[in-house]
């Protein structure tokens, strides 16, 4: 009876151990967490980035599973520690993969940034080059304009000097004055023509030669006005004054004054410069005026 009791007790103990080894006992939470995180690591980018880390997690998990199979004790510290180690290894694999991915993104962003900045720099340099080119063109144009202005000033000064010389020359042979029409050269009718005629006297030609020499090359518009006194019919005086003005104009053209710059006009007894009631006055009124107009700038 005693032997039977001992055998029964031993059998009960063995049965209990056998039941403990069965799969019905839920594993410790740490192992469940380790399995979950390992599955995440294996299914995520970690396996592609660095399979070694995932493999280490796998080995650690296998050790934890083996410890659990051996112990079947949810409170077994060794099993729990191995499960924690397996979970941490899986988490390390995921963190390393995430870090690697972020590093690649940072490198890509930096490379893109450098490219964008290089592109901007190139564009800025291009704009700067254009601006410099425009500036150079503007400076060149400015210099040309300044040179032209200087040249024009010089030409004007030369022209004025020549005009003054001409005026001085003409003043020796004819009366010269300035009024609102320009420079007025007055030649008395008796000097130029015989009474009632419009053919130039030889002496008149000599004077006109000097005037033509002085005015040649000035390129200033001129008008030759013919005047008479008030003796005689007005029509006759108008005709005579026109013909005399035309004679002077034509002669000056033969002496080199451009024909398109000089015209003539007869005014008859109009615009007298003296009274017609005296011989001297009438002599002064019989005249030819050559008006040299100011050059249009």
């Amino acid at each position: 009876m005693r032997t039977t009791t001992i055998l029964a007790l031993l059998g009960g103990v063995l049965l209990s151990v056998a039941q403990g080894c069965g799969g019905d006992i839920p594993p410790p939470k740490a192992l469940v967490d380790a399995r979950t995180d390992y599955a995440k690591a294996k299914g995520g980018v970690a396996l592609q980035v660095d399979p070694t880390d995932v493999h280490e997690a796998d080995l650690a998990l296998q050790r934890a599973e083996a410890a659990w199979r051996d112990s079947q004790d949810v409170k077994d510290e060794h099993t729990i520690d191995l499960a924690i180690i397996a979970q941490r290894k899986a988490q390390i694999a995921m963190a390393e993969a995430a870090a690697s991915k972020a590093q690649q993104e940072a490198q890509q962003a930096k490379a893109d940034l450098e490219a964008a900045m290089a592109s901007q720099l190139q564009a800025t340099r291009g704009e700067l080059g254009k601006t410099q080119q425009n500036l150079q063109q503007t400076q060149s144009q400015l210099q040309q304009t300044a040179a032209m202005n200087e040249e024009q000033k010089k030409k004007l000064a030369d022209l004025e000097a020549k005009l003054k010389d001409a005026r001085d020359t003409i003043a020796k042979i004819a009366a010269v004055k300035d009024d609102d029409r320009g420079m007025v050269i007055t030649l008395q009718g008796e000097v130029l023509f015989k009474t009632g005629k419009w053919d130039l006297k030889p002496a008149a030609m000599a004077k006109l030669d000097q005037i033509a020499d002085a005015l040649r090359g000035k390129e200033q518009p001129m008008v030759v006005f013919g005047y008479t006194d008030n003796v005689g019919a007005i029509d006759m005086n108008m005709d005579l004054s026109q013909k005399r003005a035309q004679s002077v104009r034509d002669y000056l053209v033969t002496k080199g004054i451009p024909s398109d710059l000089i015209t003539s006009q007869g005014k008859g007894p109009a615009e007298p410069v003296a009274g017609n009631d005296s011989i001297e006055g009438r002599a002064q009124n019989r005249r030819v005026e050559i008006v040299v107009k100011p050059k249009k700038s």
Binding site: E77, I92, A95, A102, Q103, A106, D112
Partner: protein
């Protein structure tokens, strides 16, 4: 009597096996030093400045301190705690590394967006 003796033999062997398992494990001094190095690496890697990493760093330090008290008394348990401390420290380092890399990526992408926005 004979049968009882046979039945009790496995029970008598249990204490002997326990002594063999615990007592034969040498003190894990090298592992302890390696764990200290892992903790130092995590600290230098910026773990104290990253909340998740800081938590695992603290766990590593706690496990390491606990293991120190167990060395020469329960070397097996001490070795387990040191192993856990090591992976906690390594995870702290990896999390800090991840955070810094993500910060750098965000920063670089922000700079890029600014430059592209200015174009």
């Amino acid at each position: 009597m004979r049968i009882a003796t046979i039945a009790l033999l496995p029970l008598a062997a249990i204490p002997l096996l326990c002594v063999a398992c615990g007592g034969s494990i040498p003190p894990p001094n090298d592992e302890y030093s390696a764990a200290q190095a892992d903790v130092g690496r995590a600290e230098a890697g910026g773990a104290p400045g990253v909340p998740d990493a800081k938590l695992h760093l603290q766990l590593a330090q706690e496990d390491l301190a606990k293991s120190k008290t167990l060395i020469d008394q329960d070397n097996k348990r001490a070795a387990d705690l040191i192993a856990v401390a090591r992976v906690e420290a390594q995870l702290a380092f990896s999390l800090a590394k991840q955070q810094m890399a993500e910060d750098q990526a965000r920063h670089a992408q922000g700079d890029l967006a600014k430059v592209k926005g200015g174009q």
